[in-house]
């Protein structure tokens, strides 16, 4: 199984994400934002956290227009898997792969801490290794994680069971306590918490490993 991890200028979780994929058993290929195509045979694209293009204009806005973006859109359009974490969630939302937008945290502060999450839908390729309703703890580290969507869009996400993760105690003002949201075909997940920072007992937690194990398990079935 092949995972591609994209690096933008200002990405800072790209290596961690590559290590997390490798740790789970993926062959990992690193892709530069100026590349115009993904390597052949890529199953899942990881869009990492960080501060792509210095968060200029809006978080993720410039990265979403970079040369690799159209290849990522095509990959998603063909039913390929895409995992966007933190700034990666902002990037793929700006790309239009997910509805809504990520705004400044309601408390206006950058928040860097471990938070409790509830697996609101285990029926996804990214969360199937967890139990429905399972409580896990993952680190968050963001200034703009306040997920915002219109009432109709929120109702649709709920009706279609597309809220993969919710905060147990909302840290940033996100509508519906949303921490992670799925695309219509469930093959794109954007999430603000960092599972790649919780895949090794040596760094304190393995609660995030299930995300990568889920994707691998999904592909083994496919």
């Amino acid at each position: 199984m092949k995972a591609a991890v994209i690096t933008f200028p200002g990405s800072n979780c790209d290596r961690d994400l590559a290590v997390a994929f490798a740790h789970a058993g993926f062959d990992v290929l690193r892709v530069w934002h100026k590349d115009t195509a993904l390597p052949a045979g890529v199953d899942v694209v990881g869009v990492p956290g960080g501060f792509s293009f210095g968060d200029y204009l809006r978080c993720g806005a410039i990265a979403a227009q970079s040369p690799i973006a159209s290849a990522v859109r095509q990959h998603a359009g063909k039913g390929g898997y895409v995992l966007g974490i933190c700034n990666g969630f902002q990037v793929i939302t700006e790309m239009g792969l997910l509805p809504g937008a990520l705004m400044r945290n309601a408390g206006l502060k950058f928040i860097c801490k471990s938070v409790d999450l509830i697996v609101a839908s285990a029926a996804s390729p990214f969360t199937s290794a967890y139990g429905q309703g399972q409580r896990i703890a993952l680190p968050i580290a963001h200034h703009d994680g306040n997920y915002t969507i219109d009432a109709e869009g929120l109702a649709r996400l709920q009706a279609e069971d597309r809220i993969a993760l919710r905060y147990a105690a909302n840290p940033n003002g996100s509508m519906g306590d949303i921490a992670g949201v799925l695309s219509e075909n469930r093959r794109v997940l954007g999430m603000m918490p960092h599972p790649e920072r919780a895949v090794d007992v040596a760094i304190g937690s393995t609660d995030g490993a299930g995300v990568f194990a889920s994707i691998l398990g999904e592909m083994a079935l496919a």
Binding site: L57, E94, A101, R104, L108, G173
Partner: protein, 79 residues
């Protein structure tokens, strides 16, 4: 030709930064500020000299990059 684009959060989208500014003004003693909305102004220096073409081009720029139309609205003026 120069264009000035004003990008604001849409009405109904909570502007947490504007609210923080409103509170700060209140604590400085500026009474009666009922609301603050914060946005951004982007100035473009364009090679285009035809007004209609320039407006079409800047509109495309706004829709594609300068504004996130999910949460923001924009106004274009030529100066």
């Amino acid at each position: 030709m120069k264009a000035r684009v004003t990008v604001m959060l849409k009405a109904g989208v909570l502007d947490v930064q504007g609210e923080a500014v409103r509170h700060a003004l209140g604590s400085l003693g500026f009474a009666g500020v009922n609301g603050v909305r914060q946005g951004k102004v982007i100035e473009l220096d364009l090679a285009e000299t035809d007004a209609a073409k320039a407006r079409a081009a800047v509109t495309a720029m706004c829709d594609k990059l300068l504004a996130n139309v999910v949460i923001e609205s924009y106004q274009i003026e030529f100066v």
